[in-house]
Subunit: 255 residues, 2 copies
């Protein structure tokens, strides 16, 4: 598996991907999943990939080769057109890969596509394995692909379109921390891009397995969660010792 997260906020775009690839537990490796498709004046495009690694790589190669010059990413007039072309490449790669595999094997990949053209605000798309896609909107300001569930509760509770970039990056890393702690298929290094809505340059950073900020964040977060849970009131239907109280609350319900 893998876990990729994209956030489109008022202040800019954040994308994070881990690097864990596994074909069974005895074939675990590390591959970059967050790739820069184009970095040129006025045009900067990144994708994060999840799913079958050979399908992901095939889609990226098809995009880099740019078979049809009229359909190149460099020539696309909008982020929407870029999403169409990336979706086409992904669909072709997925179909070609799935044909080789038994039906029960997952031969497809999905993508998060983020970037900007000119001085427009950044945009973020979720590209499905079939090549269709949806754009991120402020009401639901993040997309996840891959091993999404462990890291979702913190996002649902904290991330809003107004969340500033430092808080968003911090929360993204907490989300990855939850996924990595509970699931072996997500692991550091993490790759991160932060593209401010203002025309500042994009931050591109790799968070290694020994990253001091991440280690401190993870340890503090675990402590904070334990303290927060301990501070919650105990159930009013249990006595302090944990034994059932003989009150109407413990009526033995059956239905």
């Amino acid at each position: 598996m893998t876990y990729c997260l994209g956030m489109l906020l008022d202040d800019g775009l954040v994308m994070v991907a881990d690097t864990r690839t596994n074909a069974g537990v005895d074939n675990v490796s590390s591959y970059r999943k967050l790739h820069c498709l184009i970095e040129a004046p006025g045009r900067e495009i990144h994708v994060a990939t999840s799913g079958n690694l050979s399908a992901s790589q095939s889609a990226l190669e098809r995009l880099a080769a740019g078979a049809d010059p009229g359909r190149s990413l460099a020539a696309a007039g909008s982020m929407f057109e870029i999403a169409e072309r990336v979706g086409d490449a992904l669909r072709q790669a997925n179909r070609a890969t799935a044909e080789l595999l038994a039906p029960a094997m997952k031969g497809t990949s999905s993508m998060l596509l983020g970037g900007r053209i000119g001085d427009e605000p950044p945009r973020l798309f979720l590209i499905y394995p079939e090549g269709n896609f949806i754009a991120c909107r402020p009401e639901a300001p993040f997309f996840q692909i891959g091993e999404t569930k462990y890291g979702r509760p913190i996002l649902d509770r904290v991330i809003r379109r107004e969340t500033p970039l430092p808080a968003a990056v911090k929360t993204a890393l907490l989300s990855f921390d939850s996924a990595m702690r509970s699931n072996l298929s997500v692991a550091r290094p993490l790759d991160l891009i932060v593209m401010p809505a203002t025309p500042e340059p994009t931050l591109i950073k790799r968070i290694e397995a020994d990253d001091q900020y991440f280690n401190a964040l993870s340890a503090r977060w675990s402590r904070a969660l334990n303290e927060a849970a301990a501070a919650m009131p105990d159930p009013d239907f249990l006595a302090p010792g944990g034994l059932p109280q003989a009150t109407p609350l413990v009526a033995r319900l059956r239905n």
Copy 2:
């Protein structure tokens, strides 16, 4: 889907299940998933079911009917034997249901089985759809089935064999709160049993959609998570405004 959780702690057994059943988003209903199989002097057995509802119900009916008198739950000499008989009923029900359905449809159910015989400590088993099973052990003091991932991070961080029952029940409800908040296939009412390791009676309780303790817990937990996240240090590689800093930390890594 559904979410069921069982914890086997030094102080006793906790089992929680939600009641949401759905066959598509336009066919959502509420069914009890936590059932008392036997409640008799010196013998108390509960199961929580997840998966195909017709398979679950079929397994429960087979157990209640007790086709083979020599293999009844009431006659079983140990929790292990009870797990074998429940596993047999579940396997038969799953096979019968799966035969009716297209291969792509999930026609199977799994179970958590908890209870005690005589004055032995409670035991907890996870019964797989094929009828085989594993027993819960102190090193990993909980089992989940169904929609497990959203609610897992808090368990991984908080639950230990030494966790007292009130704290365990509270943490179980926080785990369900995370699952319900992020996924429509898990919902109240929740059913809860708490079986102390001491020979006190078992608490059996239903937590309704308007349960005041749960509502207060959920609101406080959401606030506590937001406060805890806000108190975490911002990434040291981002300036307070969120723009990339021109320091060696922002080296543009590619590999």
